[in-house]
Symmetry: D2
Subunit: 331 residues, 4 copies
């Protein structure tokens, strides 16, 4: 049995708490959050004790920590957990500034502890099957990747103000997906953004609608498009085109029902949002983390994956200002 401590009892923390509870190999021993009510709810549902950070990290029975607290606490918690020798599962992003990311990854490396970054979409069955198909040679050499990623509705201003901006908060998942599928590191990024959905984005100097082009050294190309509002629900698709075929993963629907009527043939909208679409992938990434601890394997995606997606976001942001291909920091 792997004993874990959870930092953060908010929405994502609760998802992870449930995932741990459903995993016969793991137990949630501690939940850490100063918001008493939220922590209490998780404690009641899972049997976890509510303690503070230092107590959790001081318990030698704790094999790993799950960091799902506010973004600006991720790096500090990860550094402390690394110092305590704990395996670390850290929600993305590690931090909104690169120097803190670098510092965190250096600490993790020094400590030699397992570190998994929360790019849960890699554990979505359909995206995973696309990657497996690529690895099995079903598209031949990858040449073009197209990623569509649109939220059903924008977040509220309070969240947006601290989110780091669209590229760092939303596109970051797509940057990781691009790396997951391209088979080569992007070396140049072009990005352009607009404010078409909600004036709050313009007010914050942010975008609500973007298009990105990534290019690798050998010339493989990837397109990403994002919008913060899709009236038909969460739109999450990938397409990988290569020398011997194409693999596509479409949206998932609640049912397989089709209605034929005078107005046309109607099928379900996609599952509404990430809680529905990625419910399984959240559970799967935690199962993988636990198995890695148990079996002494290196977890994936790892710290480097967290860093590289950040670097793509930084270059995209720069490109959206310069109007040109921006290089990506090498290491």
């Amino acid at each position: 049995m792997i004993d874990l401590a959870l930092f953060g009892a908010g929405q994502i923390g609760s998802i992870h708490a449930r995932g741990i509870a459903a995993n016969p190999k793991a137990r949630l021993k501690y939940v850490v959050d100063t918001r008493a009510e939220a922590a209490q709810r998780i404690a009641a549902a899972t049997g976890a004790a509510i303690v503070d950070r230092d107590a959790a990290l001081a318990d030698p029975a704790i094999a790993g920590v799950v960091i799902a607290s506010a973004t600006d606490t991720h790096a500090d918690l990860a550094i402390a957990a690394a110092a305590a020798g704990k395996a670390i599962f850290c929600e993305k992003p590690i931090h909104l500034t690169l120097d803190r990311v670098d510092a965190c990854l250096a600490a993790v490396k020094r400590a030699g502890v397992p570190f998994q970054i929360g790019f849960n979409r890699r554990f979505d069955a359909s995206f995973r099957a696309v990657r497996d198909g690529i690895d099995a040679g079903r598209v031949g050499k990858v040449e073009l990747v197209v990623i569509t990623s649109r939220d059903p509705a924008p977040d509220n201003e309070d969240y947006l103000r601290v989110s780091g901006g669209l590229f760092r908060d939303m596109t970051i998942h797509d940057f990781d997906m691009a790396r997951f599928l391209l088979g080569e590191e992007p070396s140049e990024v072009f990005a352009t953004g607009s404010c078409l959905v909600d004036p709050v984005f313009a007010k914050l100097g942010d975008f609500d609608t973007v298009m990105v082009v990534l290019r690798t050294k050998s010339g493989r190309l990837c397109h990403i498009n994002n919008s913060v509002r899709a009236v038909y629900g969460y739109d999450q698709r990938v397409e990988v085109f290569g020398s011997s075929g194409m693999l596509r993963a479409g949206n998932r629907t609640p049912t397989s029902v089709e209605h034929s009527g005078v107005g046309g043939i109607v099928t379900d909208k996609p599952l509404y949002f990430f809680l529905e679409r990625y419910a399984e992938s959240y559970a799967a990434e935690l199962r993988s983390f636990v198995s890695c601890i148990e079996e002494g394997r290196v977890p994936e995606p790892g710290p480097e994956d967290g860093l590289r997606a950040m670097l793509l976001a930084e270059s995209a942001l720069a490109s959206s200002k310069s109007g040109r291909f921006e290089p990506v920091r090498a290491g």
Copy 2:
């Protein structure tokens, strides 16, 4: 918390044990099975105690029983549970002979206990959505129903020998689905069967491939086709056609991935078999049973549903011999 006792620790029993364990409103207090190893496995996973039938039924804390034992024990167990005043969830069929079914339902009625029959497909999200669409008037008046139901591969001879035959064991689910969707009781049944897949069916005087036509008093028509072998996996579809449209529920697939290659556009086969396709519906039917106990509601599908599907199977069997429309017993 609703305390339950489970009779039968086999495949379906294990599914129900897991469903109860995942239900925060219920607890599996007892598991009853003379096969020690199977019972022990469930006990270990759920914390249930292994007791005998009488002990389980004698415990006043037990609110309900889940009968998932061998088919020929269902009726006896249900009668005993009814006498003990327990709510009953009973796997289909109640019994292979009509007189035992009648006796069982009489006992349940006398005792006035809640009784739910295990027609889990009514809880499949897609089939449920079709029914909800009918109720919402999306097809207008129902006129034609087409039910396709094919297993990936035939059962083994040992099972087939005690199954009661295809109509009573396999088509029974489709008879219930027909009733679920038709909105009227079928009053006549035509059925014809062949042995095309495996000689063991002919040897047992059974069929492996059948077509059925049901007719209601007002002239609504329903077609069912079954095969015990579909090389592409479990094929479970329904189609309801009416005066203002059609609703169809298709198969479900593991992923949404599509491959385009020189040989065509390829998508996933359906989920392989009932454990995969109906995993959610098994859990949902148990949640519904528990909620009915908790809230004092009458569970659905009920004893009458168990009986009426049996009566359709009996008439189908008679028709497959007589070559003509056979009436269905009224009550």
Copy 3:
């Protein structure tokens, strides 16, 4: 250049006139119809001369005739054309009574002229591809066939009164499709019908909604369902299931457009009716007829196909009254 004479300048006659005009190998030399305006329209569009029956048949330049006149004239015209040594393309049905069909086929046989019956659906690209797939072994041994055939709206009473009834007028196409796909002759027919759509059908002693089951000697089974009204348009699908797979042909749509909105994902309804769905197949069957004349090949489907579909319709009608499997006349 193959010179043809067309009997009948109505809706189907006009379709065939266009098909001949578009065929570089054929020329429409004569159109025969006492309805002057209709004949004139075709003459103007194609350059055909308007003549009477005897003149058309007496011209030795005429290699073949296309019979698209009223149903009760088909047999007489075919017998006269056979006597004149012309190749015959005859719209279905040959006649509504079996003795006239027998007489017609005997005359055709005696004359030794090529005879093609107008089962145009055999030339639909999708149904043809299903048959080709069967011939190529893609489903293995055929076991189950399901044919869905629904018109968008019922014909008017004047037409229905002389149509011969649903089995002989509408299901006849599906009986031919069943034979096209089953790979064996059906030997028994079960049919049941209802009046659910329009009271005129009951008034005429006809049905507007039917289900049929066909059975071959070796036990292959086929289901057909018909309705005279589908609010979403012409519904024409087939499904062939066998020992190593399934082939399905679905409806065709005007465009590939899909709309995602708050109400769901909406795609096109099927092409509205037979003029749209089978436009290509009408042209293709005429091209085949012309090529057969040119190359001295025996056309398909032939006179036997016209007869056997009729025999199935007769048995279906008998079954709908007797409530039992009815045998099909052997020859």
Copy 4:
């Protein structure tokens, strides 16, 4: 009856000759091509006379010309036809250099003759339906457009050498489609290209794989991706996303057949190439041209559409070298 003269008896010329022959409102009076055999083939099939350019333009009966000759003759022919007062249908591109395009459009404007440019995809039923849906408000305000356009296989080196390069020859269609769907003129273009398919493209200083981003003044964004080789056939899709929904047009297939087997569910590949996919749209654009002449309407797409697509191609080419957003010439 509208009399037309055709310049160019090659592949596209033959398509247009057939389209004119099938149009009851038009007649192909002349075909002009120094390649005698090709001209003879069209003359034989349509009854057109073979004449030289000046004779065709001198005939006052000729209402319009169809220019489908070699690219570098388009502008000269159009200028001569304009001087002769003929309506002009001109295959894209007008010319490979902008100054000749400008000169040609000036001549057309001076002469005041109708001018239609051969962007046939605007007449594809599915793309047209997307545009109609936009005009009907089905996506609300357009925000994102994604255009996928991939050929089944690259052209040969001889063609590529004179094609003007991928942006001017292939992407040009997609630039027009972008304008057709965006509802606003793109003001900036970003493009990047690779040589991944065939070394001949590198040798010619061209690309075989490209990604483009277009941006309009108000911030609407459009992505285009191209490859010269898709092993599964011609891949032609568009997606338009806006404030109240999304419209997508997918590929078209030869049949609606689906095979379910042990390897998955397999459907048809797209129609193989432009001759199959756009057969109908070639005929439709000519019908539209003829109707415009007949009814005195201004044809669409017009000369400005030919110019603006060229300007986008020029900016794309510049961007692929500069690595930055390039502005588009205003007029």
